[in-house]
């Protein structure tokens, strides 16, 4: 059993580090409905961690707890080894946790480049006056942010639509722009809410490749939600499986494949 500060090397040669985020006994209720029931799991530095489960299992709720959009009634969130006080979503984002949304939340009125640049908002420190006079620090910052944005845009192969308003893009590209905006913030933890939902096979393959590349190139820790088992098994280092708000499995993809509870949840159990 690994200790929370241990690190190990995966089969494909990537180093997985210590625990960055730990969820302890999280319970989330909406009125009488229990969305998440006493779930604990952790996310390690540099890994791709998947949360899977059938529809309505509470996966998105879990992601929303991590990103501060929902506040759990019970349980604690540890970030970098310290308990995290209750935070608003923008404060969580400022801590270096970036996310995408299941239904895409982009700034539809802005161009792709502008959208990506908003991902750098937290990296801008110069005051309004400095910006107004546009000298020194503010100018350096703007140039640096622009370079970072262009680099990510190149990386995700969306150069050709840099100046296109987002509202005109097809679904698959919008998903990629959203990923770019999250990535440009250089997050410690990247949360992807169903990055492949509603995509065709080709788009799914593209997105999978980008997720792997991002993890490989920048060493970004990624937690993602998906209900397509096949995709998840190929992508992730470890998988949490949820069903009806409860955790029914946690481990490597091969562990999960052989987990009877998971097989039952996905294929259904014969009631005899």
């Amino acid at each position: 059993m690994l200790d929370s500060s241990d690190s190990y090397v995966t089969e494909d040669g990537r180093t997985i580090g210590a625990v960055v985020m730990e969820m302890k006994n999280i319970t989330l209720r909406f009125g009488g409905v229990v969305a998440i029931k006493d779930i604990s799991f952790d996310i390690r530095q540099g890994e791709i961690r998947a949360i899977i489960g059938p529809n309505g299992a509470g996966k998105s709720s879990m992601l929303n707890v991590i990103s501060g959009f929902y506040v759990p009634q019970e349980g604690e969130v540890f970030f970098n080894g310290k308990p995290r006080p209750q935070m608003r979503p923008y404060e969580v984002a400022q801590q270096g946790i970036a996310r995408t949304f299941q239904n895409i939340a982009l700034f539809e009125g802005m161009t792709v480049l502008d959208n990506v640049m908003t991902g750098r908002l937290n990296k801008m420190n110069s005051g309004l006056l400095a910006q107004a006079i546009w000298r020194g620090k503010a100018e350096r910052e703007e140039i640096e942010n622009r370079e970072k944005a262009e680099k990510i845009i190149d990386f995700l192969e969306i150069q050709h639509i840099r100046k296109t308003p987002v509202s005109r893009l097809p679904y698959g590209l919008k998903k990629r722009v959203e990923l770019a905006r999250a990535l440009v913030a250089e997050p410690n933890l990247l949360l992807l809410d169903e990055p492949m939902a509603g995509m065709n096979v080709e788009e799914k393959e593209d997105m999978s490749r980008f997720i792997l590349d991002v993890n490989d190139e920048f060493g970004t820790t990624i937690a993602l939600i998906e209900h397509d088992m096949g995709v998840v098994m190929d992508l992730s280092d470890r998988v949490v499986v949820m069903d009806y708000g409860k955790k029914i499995g946690d481990g490597t993809p091969s562990d999960i494949r052989n987990n009877q509870a998971v097989i039952d949840a996905y294929l259904g159990v014969a009631h005899d």
């Binding site: 608003r88 923008y90 404060e91 984002a93 700034f107 009125g109 991902g119 908002l121 801008m124 905006r181």
Partner: protein, 328 residues
């Protein structure tokens, strides 16, 4: 040049200048509407309130003196000092920022996610509340506002046009100053929203709340900022109108003239507010000049609204507004 044409030109320019003042009020509406989807009915009253506060601070008036005197049996009205215009403007601005914070903290924070009509009703309430507070705080008599802006006929234009056309144009210096200040204000606002970090955050919030949160923008901060900026715009409008026609409670009625301006220009467009204001200003003056005498005058009261009505029929999104396409 025939006298009638020269006269029409003078009317045209005066219309432009009047339009600038409409634009200033409309601008405040657009700012808040863009960033928070709230149609702020209180924008006109904010202009009135800021002008009242400015005069009050400059004259060293004791706020709420009527109540204080009634409760404690005292007889105080003035601190007995005069504050220079520049400091008083800074002080008024501080009051408007405080107002923005209060409005956000005690009204709109509790109404996040409500229907637009509910937000609109809240601003109607706010308008009457603020008008009452303004009355209680500073009294209801008409006040003279003089922050040192030049006023009266511009001699240079008078003389020059007399030499050219044989007819001297009457253009008020105050109108020229108002135009210049409005132009600077708009340029500053556009630069602010396009190029500054805070402006980017503002545009982000205007576009999508969830997405803005996810990139680390505090909605609350942005909304307070936008209400403060709208307060500043209201102050500028209040100074111009107050200097021109005295600080009086009918000032809040100019908010109504901003409505047709917005219908013309579009509710979400800063340039739209400006162009809309100018069209209404020029339109109503020229219409009064050309058609007014035939129908017994006073067309300025209704012209703007009829023009807006025609616009609603043929181009409901306004000149610069975003066209709403409903996908089926």
């Amino acid at each position: 040049m025939p006298e009638q044409l020269a006269f029409a030109m003078e009317v045209f320019f005066n219309g432009l200048m009047a339009g600038v003042l409409y634009s200033l009020v409309a601008l405040g509406f657009v700012l808040i509407f863009k960033a928070s989807g709230i149609f702020n009915y209180a924008q006109g009253v904010m202009a009135l309130f800021s002008a009242l506060t400015l005069v009050g601070i400059m004259e060293g008036q004791v706020p709420f003196s009527h109540i204080i005197n009634a409760v404690f049996g005292t007889d105080i009205h003035h601190f007995g000092w005069h504050v220079p215009a520049f400091l008083a403007i800074l002080g008024t601005m501080a009051v408007m920022v405080l107002f923005a914070w209060l409005v956000q903290r005690y009204i709109f924070r509790h109404l996040v996610g409500q229907e637009p009509i509910i937000l609109f009703m809240a601003t109607i309430g706010l308008a009457y509340f603020l008008e009452g507070v303004g009355d209680l705080m500073w009294g209801s008599e008409i006040k003279k506002l003089d922050v040192g802006l030049p006023q009266g006929i511009n001699d240079m234009i008078d003389v020059t046009t007399y030499e050219w056309f044989g007819y001297g144009f009457f253009i008020d210096n105050l109108d020229i100053v108002a135009t210049v200040i409005a132009a600077l204000l708009v340029i500053a606002l556009v630069i602010f929203s396009q190029y500054s970090k805070e402006g980017r955050a503002m545009r982000a919030v205007a576009d999508d709340h969830q997405a803005a949160l996810s990139v680390g923008v505090s909605l609350n901060f942005v909304w307070i900022m936008v209400w403060s900026v709208a307060g500043f715009v209201a102050l500028v409008a209040g100074i111009m109108w107050g200097t021109k026609s005295g600080v009086q409670f009918s000032l809040s009625l100019i908010a109504l003239k901003a409505l047709p301006v917005l219908m013309l220009g579009g509710f979400t467009s800063i340039p739209g507010a400006i162009v809309g204001g100018l069209i209404i200003g020029v339109g109503e003056k020229l219409f009064e000049f050309a058609i007014g005498p035939m129908v017994g005058g006073a067309t300025e009261n209704w012209f703007a609204y009829v023009l807006a009505l025609i616009f609603l029929v043929f181009r409901p999104q306004g000149l610069f507004g975003e066209k709403i396409i409903e996908r089926v």
